[in-house]
Amino acid sequence: MSNAPAEQTPTEEIDLAAANHIIDKYLTLHGNLMPVLQGIQDEYGYVPKPTIDLVAERLNVYPSQIFGVLTFYAQFHLKPRGRYIIRVCVGTACHVQGASRIVETFFDKLHIGHAETSPDLRYTFEKVACLGACGMAPLAMVNDATYGSMTVQKVEQIIADYNQRPMKK
């Protein structure tokens, strides 16, 4: 669930060149709002407030309509997120294989809860269902990397590994 837009700082300073470039790319496409917002989310790691106004103006849609879309879909975020997104599946197949223990171990080690981001912006943690790899349950993902048959030990290894990784993309 995304956070309320009101929590955003109003005076955010953002370079809009990239957003303009994304809008240019999809300007003539029928149903272009979604790919434009997806492009912005990918580029900035979240959807900054100034880009919403820009999209509204250039695609001729109300900002409220854009907020409606942004707060509906799981992909979009209105606040900056961690460099490494950790997702632990708590779907039914993972549940019966002990997913809750994996979730708790991450909570303990990272000191952040569900949908929270660490203050240093290194990690965001999310419980999700379902990741669609039930044969590998219990399952975790860090960004696009998949970790199957998770154990408490593997959680510790993953955190140790990603603690060493760079913060820059």
Partner: protein, 421 residues
């Protein structure tokens, strides 16, 4: 055993365009476009008895036949690849191994309904599948299988991949169309049905990945051959089953429709994990009522599973061993559905969290005797929801009440979960 969709699979990598063609791929497309009329392609699919593999099991050819042929203007075909239901991962396995059967099937389906622009709506996170599809679409276009005047037939079609922004409700066909249009994915009222008024108000057919991927083999080998693939005379064709939970091999396999649940678990799954005894399973994805050991001999086909009180659904089987608390399992499923409710209609938005709270209370030992009755009423009332999400969410709850009422009552009487020490 004969394989249809998995026939082209290569170990550890996707099949290539050249391999797929060398193994008879795109022969159906050539045959369909050069030798058959659109109506003949549609008739072959009707005669084959192919039913939708996405959960509802609606006859595919019949769905196509609802599209008005004489209406001027565009018609659309959408492949629903928004596979998000817990326990279901068949489309992912299929597309990671072979994207071409789907592309070929979509061109044939587009030809049958006269569609000039088709979309694949794929779930976010299916990166490998999306990458395979992008490559396959490019190769097909280059080979002249997509674009203007395909193979000189006069038929033209474009195919685009749309990556979803992620919500379970997008798998509902009318919500999916709203998502494609760039709106919130709330479902639309039916009628008008999508076949008449769908994407951008135009006639639209929405089919599942596995359904469309079966079409080429029907055109190549004929409807009678396809029908005969099934294990029982009432069924038609093969089905992908994806099995997870406490079985020895958690696999996605292509099997004849009509194999019994027991044959699937003891056969390709290699039986239960050592020391585990079968207690129950979800037979066809998260929205289907449970099966227990008494259903071991039920043939896994649409009608037979429905007769036994559940649904074949997607073929996603999740197996629970004897020490599983069915209240907790149902709570897990309900939590998913409550979170994924789009909030559009009240029975679903308010009803699902209520059911989740009751199950949470029972599981925590605070349940009351009348909770059983309240749950039962909700199973009834949530059928009045706007779309199929809430009735589907009540599938496992209905199964819990019918098959495991004793277990609920044990929670209430003992004031704790009997499976926790």
């Amino acid at each position: 055993m004969e394989q249809v969709l998995f026939r082209h699979n290569k170990p550890g990598r996707p099949v290539t365009f050249a391999e797929y063609q060398a193994e008879g791929g795109f022969a159906a497309l050539k045959k369909g476009l050069k030798e058959l009329s659109p109506l003949e392609v549609q008739q072959a699919v009707i005669d084959s008895g192919l039913r939708g593999r996405g959960g509802a099991g609606f006859p595919t050819g019949k769905k196509w036949s609802f599209v008005p042929r004489d209406l001027p203007g565009p018609r659309y075909l959408i492949c629903n690849c928004d596979e998000m239901e817990p326990g279901t991962y068949k489309d992912r396995v299929l597309l990671e191994a072979n994207p071409y059967s789907l592309v070929e099937g979509m061109i044939l389906a587009g030809y049958a309904i006269g569609c000039e622009h088709a979309f694949i709506f794929i779930r976010r996170g299916y990166e490998t599948a999306a990458m395979n599809l992008r490559r396959a679409i490019g190769e097909a276009r280059e080979a002249g299988f997509l674009g203007r005047n395909i193979l000189g037939s006069g038929f033209s079609m474009e195919l685009d991949l749309h990556v979803s922004a992620g919500r379970y409700i997008c798998g509902e066909e009318t919500a999916l169309m709203n998502a494609l249009e760039g709106k919130r994915a709330n479902p639309r009222s039916k009628p008008p049905f999508p076949a008449v008024k769908g994407l951008w108000g135009r006639p639209t057919v929405v089919n599942n990945v596995e359904t469309l991927a079966n079409v080429p083999s029907i055109i190549t080998n004929g409807p009678a051959w396809f029908k005969g693939l099934a294990g029982i005379p009432e069924a038609a064709g093969m089905k992908l089953f994806c099995i997870s939970g406490h079985v020895r091999n958690t696999v996605c396999v292509e099997l004849p429709l009509g194999m019994t649940l027991g044959e699937i678990i003891d056969g390709p799954c290699g039986g239960m994990l050592q020391g585990k005894k079968f207690k129950a399973c979800i037979p066809g994805g998260a929205s289907t009522p449970f099966f227990t050991a008494e259903h071991w001999g039920v043939p896994m086909d649409f009608d037979a599973v429905a007769k036994a009180g559940s649904r074949l659904g997607t073929g996603g089987i999740v197996v629970f061993p004897e020490n599983t608390c069915m209240v907790a399992a149902t709570l897990n499923l309900t939590t998913f559905f409550a979170r994924e409710s789009c909030g559009w209609c009240t029975p679903c938005r308010e009803g699902l969290p209520y059911v989740r709270e009751i199950l949470t209370r029972i599981e925590a030992g605070g349940g009351e005797t009348e909770d059983v009755e309240i749950l039962r009423e909700h199973v009834k009332y949530l059928n009045y929801a706007f779309c199929a999400l809430a009735p589907g969410a009540m599938g496992p709850v209905e199964g819990l009440l019918r098959l495991f009422e004793d277990e609920i009552r044990e929670h209430v009487v003992k004031k704790r979960c009997p499976f926790k020490n």
